[in-house]
């Protein structure tokens, strides 16, 4: 809206120069836009698969409509509440915990002097490179009831009874949050770190001369400057709030039945339910459901952000 008004008031000469300046920019954008078109928009109409009664002969678009039948299984069960609750709650906790930890580590790393910071930075990224199954093996190395470290090397010397970790659900919310943090902290802090590095050092020098303490520099300069990045990353995470990291919730608890009430999320539920059915329309329905909720949340969050901080809005 605003830009329209602006355009109307422009003089012809200015508009001409605007067009001249814009053409190269459009050219730059073109390859990326084409890629998104091929990769994302061309298959997009396939979303209707979720509303179809698929028959191979008729293809995706020719098959009969099924209405919302494919969605039924997501809502009609007693588990619907549990899986929705788990998915959202874990994601909310992950968003907050990961944000705080990543920003804190990024700030520390940016302020440290000496060669060791390079080492820290490399090392904390490593867990991110492991696949979920390997992580599940490592977690198992610590928590195995029979041979695990925690039971054998920590609890036993303390004279305590070993814990059947994979049957006790009370520990798992903490374990999962920890594993998620452990895995992602190095990766998550990179983006903040590179943003902080880009800040104008002059600001800090000036503040230091004015007698600001380190803590004051962090709270008065770094954090405010980081705000747009934080808002943007958080909003993008909100868009994925109905998705869960399948590996974390399925592999890491070793698919242990006793833990389902705290580990079953939308993705693991769909996986277990459709394992034998192999129904592509039902899994498409789950995807549409997750996308739609994310879309609505991001739109509303964006609307709110645009109100009080238009520069940080996504679009």
């Amino acid at each position: 809206m605003a830009s329209n008004k602006y355009k109307e008031k422009m003089s012809p000469a200015k508009r001409k120069s605007l067009i001249r300046r814009s053409i190269p920019i459009y050219l730059m954008a073109l390859p990326g836009l084409i890629y998104l078109f091929i990769n994302n928009y061309m298959p997009m109409p396939g979303i209707i698969l979720a509303f179809k009664n698929y028959k191979a002969k008729d293809g995706i678009y020719g098959s009969k409509w099924a209405g919302f039948k494919n969605f039924k299984y997501l809502f009609s069960t007693q588990d619907a509440f549990v899986i929705t609750r788990n998915t959202i709650c874990y994601n909310l906790v992950f968003i907050v915990v990961n944000l705080v930890a990543a920003v804190a580590v990024a700030i520390i790393l940016s302020e440290l002097v000496g060669k060791q910071k390079k080492f820290y930075q490399s090392v904390i990224l490593l867990p991110y490179l492991l696949s979920a199954v390997i992580i599940s093996y490592l977690v198992f190395a610590f928590l195995s009831p029979e041979n695990g470290f925690v039971n054998n090397s920590i609890l036993k010397p303390l004279g305590k009874e070993g814990i059947s970790w994979y049957q006790e659900k009370k520990y798992w919310p903490f374990i999962l949050v920890f594993v998620n943090l452990w895995k992602g902290i190095g990766y998550n802090c990179i983006i903040y770190l590179s943003t902080i590095i880009g800040f104008d050092r002059g600001l800090y020098e000036a503040a230091s001369i004015d007698g600001a303490t380190k803590w004051q520099q962090i709270t008065k300069i770094t954090l405010p400057l980081l705000r747009p990045t934080i808002i943007m990353l958080t909003m993008m995470a909100v868009g994925r709030i109905f998705y869960s990291d399948f590996g974390l919730f399925y592999q890491v608890p070793q698919n242990s039945g006793a833990l389902y009430s705290v580990t079953n999320t939308i993705d693991t539920y769909v996986y277990r339910g459709l394992l034998e059915l192999g129904d592509i329309t039902m899994s498409a329905a789950a995807g549409v459901y997750q996308s739609l909720v994310g879309f609505i949340l991001v739109l509303s969050a964006n609307l709110a952000v645009r109100k009080f901080d238009p520069d940080s809005a996504l679009f």
């Binding site: 698929y54 191979a56 034998e276 129904d279």
Partner: protein, 545 residues
């Protein structure tokens, strides 16, 4: 339709009776036998049928001759799954197979072999996208899901099977083919394999039994028997002695996902445990597995064994195969489904001789023929060629051997006594075509026999299949697409309790009722009712009481 069907079967049977006297006698003894029983019925139509069958045989020859003459061979793509992914020798074997198929029916074949992890995904995508794949095994993709999505061709469309698949008809009894019918339409051809399974087999290394001084030798019913038939109390006695001698090892373990299917004489109709035949040999009544006596007894037994310390504390999360654990020295005894040749197979896998006990009967479930049939893609451009290739795979020993074991001189050589084995310098790891999935490859019964198995193994297997107790619902296929929402909920509830109950980690008298309550809330009754209704309809249509 039905009349046509009966005619067709009669034709097949009559043919088999005739051919049965010939050289291929050993290939289809069962079919011949059953044919004798049923020829009386079809006697009236027999003459006519033989004449018709001859015509149909000509159709197949004509189609082959035409292709060979034209010199342009259509290509048939054959897909199946193995455990390790596309083998190195795939193109060479495809070419060798093509040499046979070109000469006999004027068709080229191309193999597509995918590993078990990606097979279902890849096949679904290929079938949905219309890529060329003509013949494929539906294992892991699922027979009913394939039918529901309309992936499979009606094999009797335009008399396809009757005209071009005559040897296939000969290789099976009508009942076996009927196992792949859905509402009367034939969508698949079963594999020649172990159709029955000895329930509740227990495998224990011989060395361990010797160590505790257990006299197993006198327990064989006949000399030279492969198995010892016994009961769970005896096994319990053995296990507790072993446990005493080796407290550092896990005494017993079962693969979590196969406990009900390999231990109990219940027919999980349609392959899921929600509504089963608890008395499958006599009754078609769909009842609840979990409140049934058999399930409760199993869980109580396992709970007891767990209390006695037989299971590792890690059993619930175990991802290793049983024999791998035995080989590593971590496990003493485990459950296995038995079949002819099982003792040799398990001994090979464990790396030491084992003794196999069996505590249940040999039992054949209603899903025996439709878990992994071969099918033709509905999208197939030349179904006649595809059917003729399939026909050849079921009837040509050279082609079957190539398909199962690879090329002579490269993947295998003949031994003095008529077995085949690895050539020098080749082993399971570096062989370019060693899939270990012959139970999936059409007709292993006519292929060469690998060293280690008896040469007569397939005769014994056929006898085993024929003599096993069979479920009354044999040939019924269960389409749960109308209750798929209930199914997903039930599957999730069961998954939550399955391991804990069936490996005895929780008290079944407390937990089973809890699970049943949750299953009921998830729609167990509706699901069972739907199953019963479908079963009744099928029984009525097939004249089964």
């Amino acid at each position: 339709m039905k009349k046509k069907l009966a005619l067709l079967l009669a034709g097949a049977l009559a043919l088999t009776t005739l051919a049965g006297c010939g050289s291929k006698k050993e290939e289809a003894p069962a079919a011949a036998e059953s044919a004798k029983e049923e020829t009386a019925e079809a006697a009236g139509a027999a003459e006519e049928v033989v004449a018709e069958a001859a015509d149909e045989g000509e159709a197949a020859e004509a189609a082959a001759a035409e292709r060979i003459e034209s010199g342009t061979y259509p290509k048939v793509v054959i897909a199946y799954m193995n455990f390790a992914g596309t083998p190195k020798g795939i193109d060479r074997i495809s070419q060798k197979m093509s040499e046979i198929t070109e000469a006999k029916i004027g068709v080229d074949v191309e193999l597509q072999i995918m590993d078990s992890a990606s097979y279902s995904q890849n096949m679904n995508l290929m079938l949905a996208s219309g890529e060329q794949v003509d013949l494929f095994n539906v294992v892991s993709v699922g027979f009913m899901p394939c039918v529901n999505k309309g992936y499979l061709l009606d094999l009797e469309e335009d008399d396809l099977l009757a005209k071009y698949g005559q040897d296939i008809i000969k290789a099976f009894r009508p009942m076996e083919l009927n196992g792949c019918r859905v509402d009367g339409t034939l969508y698949g051809i079963p594999v020649k394999k172990d159709d029955a399974a000895g329930q509740f087999g227990i495998s224990i290394p011989q060395a361990l039994l010797d160590e505790i001084g257990f006299d197993y030798a006198s327990m064989y019913e006949n000399e030279g028997d492969e198995l010892i038939y016994t009961d769970l109390d005896t096994i319990e006695g053995i296990l507790s002695q072993i446990h005493e001698a080796h407290p550092e090892k896990a005494t017993f373990y079962m693969d979590k996902s196969s406990i009900v299917s390999q231990c109990l004489v219940v027919d999980m109709v349609g392959g899921d445990p929600f509504g089963v035949l608890n008395d499958p040999v006599n009754s078609l009544e769909v009842t609840d597995l979990f409140t049934g006596e058999q399930y409760m007894e199993l869980c109580r037994r396992m709970y007891k064994w767990n209390q006695m310390g037989f299971f590792s504390k890690d059993a619930l999360t175990e991802s290793l195969g049983t024999t791998v654990q035995v080989k590593a020295g971590n496990l003493c005894a485990y459950k296995t489904a038995t079949k002819p040749g099982i003792k040799q197979q398990e001994s090979n896998l464990c790396g030491e001789p084992v003794i196999i006990f069996q505590c249940g009967p040999d039992f054949k479930k209603s899903t025996a023929y439709n878990t992994m049939p071969w099918a033709i893609n509905q999208n197939c451009e030349d179904p006649v060629a595809a059917m003729q290739v399939l026909n050849l795979l079921y009837s040509d020993p050279d082609l079957a051997t190539l398909f199962c074991w690879g090329e002579e001189g490269v993947e295998w050589v003949e031994t003095e006594d008529g077995h085949i084995t690895f050539p020098e310098g080749v082993d399971a790891q570096n062989s370019e075509y060693f899939n270990n999935v012959n139970w999936e490859l059409c007709n292993q019964f006519i292929a060469r026999v690998w060293e280690g198995d008896e040469l007569t193994i397939w005769d014994r297997m056929q006898k085993f299949n024929d003599e096993a107790e069979a479920s009354k619902a044999m040939g019924f296929t269960w389409d749960n697409s109308a209750v798929s929402a209930e199914y997903t909920a039930l599957a999730n509830v069961y998954a939550e309790y399955q391991g804990q109950l069936e490996l005895g980690f929780v008290d079944p008298d407390v937990v089973v009722p809890e699970m049943v309550e949750r299953l009921k809330a998830a729609g167990l009754d509706d699901y069972m009712a739907a199953k019963q209704e479908a079963l009744n309809e099928w029984a009525a249509a097939n004249g089964i009481e």
